[in-house]
């Protein structure tokens, strides 16, 4: 089993978001970067499958050099090697071209991604890569078993889930409970330092230009209703907020 896992390096889920340079650049000061939470599920399932079926797990990130900390953590968790495409991942199409270009050079049985990145939340890179490679893409996948060359999966849909079968190769966007998050152990951290990390240059052009960023308007004060008059809330929602 030859698996490619695509990971993002994203601001920690508690990070305060702000911008610099006249609201044209993300302010990295004081922000801790983590592996995308959904990408962590993809990686953990990939390592479990490797342990069960043999094979290799390669980690791929489209990002600048500061994402190497996240890449090393993925190697410590159990990936065998890593590739970084050296550029800012400007838009979904551009990012997908980078991933598909690398994937086209190797025959991966599975390309695992997160259901969505938590910076751009598009949930589209897996579909783009599937189309570019001419293979099926499915997301969000919450269960994945491999039997020979067939993948048996459960995918979440609005209000429920569906069972799916498809032949490899596949591109999948993963979410819990596909695997338990793995935490690197001491031995993993030591060996990660010497595992190969190849840096390649990007191809093609981006199709969008991000002009500026804005923050949501601050919330006004919360109107408190005493518990003994709780029923008043309903009248306020109807007559003042006009949402009933």
């Amino acid at each position: 089993m030859k698996i490619l896992v695509c990971v993002t390096s994203v601001p920690d889920t508690t990070a305060k978001i702000s911008f610099t340079d006249g609201d044209t650049k993300f302010n990295k000061a004081g922000v801790t970067y983590i592996t995308g939470p959904y990408d962590d599920y993809a990686l953990s399932r990939a390592v479990e499958l490797k342990e069960k079926l043999g094979g290799t797990v390669t980690v791929l990130n489209v990002g600048e050099s500061d994402s190497e900390q996240v890449i090393r953590k993925c190697l410590a968790i159990g990936a065998d090697d890593a590739i970084r495409v050296n550029c800012e991942p400007k838009d979904s199409y551009f990012t997908a071209v980078q991933i598909a270009t690398i994937a086209a050079q190797e025959n991966y049985d599975l390309i695992l991604m997160g259901r969505e990145s938590i910076d751009f939340n598009s949930g589209v890179v897996h579909g783009l890569v599937g189309e570019m490679l001419g293979i099926p893409s499915l997301s969000p996948v919450m269960k994945l078993e491999i039997e020979g060359t067939t993948a048996k999966m459960t995918r979440e849909i609005e209000g429920g889930k569906e069972d799916i079968e498809a032949s490899l190769p596949l591109v999948l966007g993963c979410q819990e409970p596909i695997a338990e998050w793995k935490i690197p152990n001491m031995r993993g951290i030591m060996t990660a330092r010497t595992k190969p990390l190849r840096v390649v240059e990007p191809v093609g052009d981006d199709l969008t230009i991000t002009e500026k960023f804005t923050l949501p308007a601050p919330k006004g004060a919360c109107k408190m209703i005493p518990a003994e008059n709780a029923e008043e809330l309903i009248a306020l929602l109807k007559n003042e907020a006009k949402v009933l």
Binding site: T13, T14, P37, Y38, D91, S92, Y93, A96, I118, F120, N121, S122, G123, V124, G127, L128, V129, G130, E131, P136, S137, L138, S139, P140, R155, E156, I157, E158, G159, G160, E162, D163, I164, E165, A166, Q175, E176, L207, T208, T210, E211, F213, T214, L215, P216, K219, G220, C222, K223, M224, I225, A227, A230, E231, L233, I234, A235, L237, V243, L244
Partner: protein
């Protein structure tokens, strides 16, 4: 150079989120001086599909091949790409959903088109084609110029305020060639809670957290939701503990909702939870702890015990 809107059919009817997309697409068409065409795939009556006209579309292409009866990402993407070619469309609009996102992505791949998801308002066409999208899970917005000839836009709920026109659209049968390869993925079973209101589509959401103490207490949450015609949701620990199904959990790692009204009961308001609900229009928080962080993100708050407050609110709603 028309605008195409990809719509979804649920139980013979166009989904509410799809009708919002139709209206969005029709407004874009107006700005560009062209018309809006709807693509509808699956079983629905002509009268139902003609309703797209009420939301601004002039024409509906109806693809109703038996093989398209269930949502199939690759086949639907092929049908949409054929429609884009036939209509010489420049802009494709979809409502964000598990099917819509996947179809949008594959069509962008086919058409070499820029794709922007989570779009929150109508585009600005005064200099180039610019859209505003929500990023960092609702914590910020980005204004993005789309440079490619074809443009794919997936909109978030409440991106436009819909105004119905009373018009009706002409319906045409659409039969593009289908590829066998598109049916390689087999759906072997579907498990769906049929009676409940779909969470991403709901205008009102009643959500509850660990403050409810256990799954056996959800009756008071459901009673309020039923009285309001609302969907129910929960915090992540609640679905992790299996008190509620996974597809009900909202937040950074769950569903993102943007209803008109979000009522949070016994939820502390952790930043990861807020990330999934911060684009709601009005937020109500009911928590027994006056220091609960959720009050900072709320429009209305009650410091009190959910076991006392919720049944009283249900009664007050029924009395309206």
């Amino acid at each position: 150079m028309s605008v195409i809107i990809f719509t979804e059919i649920d139980n013979g009817a166009l989904k509410k989120s799809s009708l919002e997309a139709v209206y969005y697409g029709a407004e874009v068409a107006k700005m560009k001086g062209t018309t809006a065409t709807v693509l509808a795939i699956g079983e629905a009556s002509e009268a139902e599909l003609a309703k797209a006209g009420n939301f601004g579309a002039t024409k509906v292409l109806h693809a109703n091949d038996a093989r398209l009866a269930t949502g199939n990402i690759q086949a639907y993407a092929d049908v949409l790409a054929s429609a884009v070619t036939q209509e010489n469309a420049e802009v494709v609009i979809l409502a964000k959903s598990s099917l819509g996102d996947a179809v949008a992505a594959r069509v962008a791949g086919k058409l070499k088109a820029a794709i922007v998801s989570n779009v929150t308002e109508l585009p600005d066409l005064s200099g180039g084609f610019k859209v505003t999208r929500s990023i960092y899970t609702g914590k910020a917005f980005a204004t993005v110029e789309m440079k490619s000839d074809k443009k794919i836009i997936a909109i978030k709920k409440n991106a436009v305020s819909v105004v119905e026109s009373g018009a009706s659209a002409g319906v045409e049968v659409f039969t593009p060639a289908l590829k066998d390869a598109d049916f390689a993925v087999k759906v072997t079973g579907t498990h769906k809670a049929s009676s409940t209101i779909s969470l991403p589509e709901a205008d009102i959401v009643v959500s509850a957290g660990r403050g409810l103490k256990g799954p056996e207490n959800w009756g008071i949450v459901e009673d309020l939701a039923n009285a309001l015609g609302a969907a129910t949701a929960c915090s992540k620990p609640v679905s992790d503990l299996d008190w509620r199904p996974h597809h009900e959990h909202v937040g950074q790692t769950g569903i993102k909702v943007s209803p008109n009204l979000y009522i949070a009961c016994g939820i502390s308001g952790a930043i990861q939870h807020l990330a999934g609900v911060n684009s709601s229009k009005v937020i109500v928080v009911i928590n027994k702890d006056p220091e609960a962080p959720f009050f900072k993100a709320a429009d209305y708050g009650i410091v009190g015990d959910v076991f006392d407050i919720l049944p009283r609110l249900t009664k007050a709603v029924k009395a309206l």
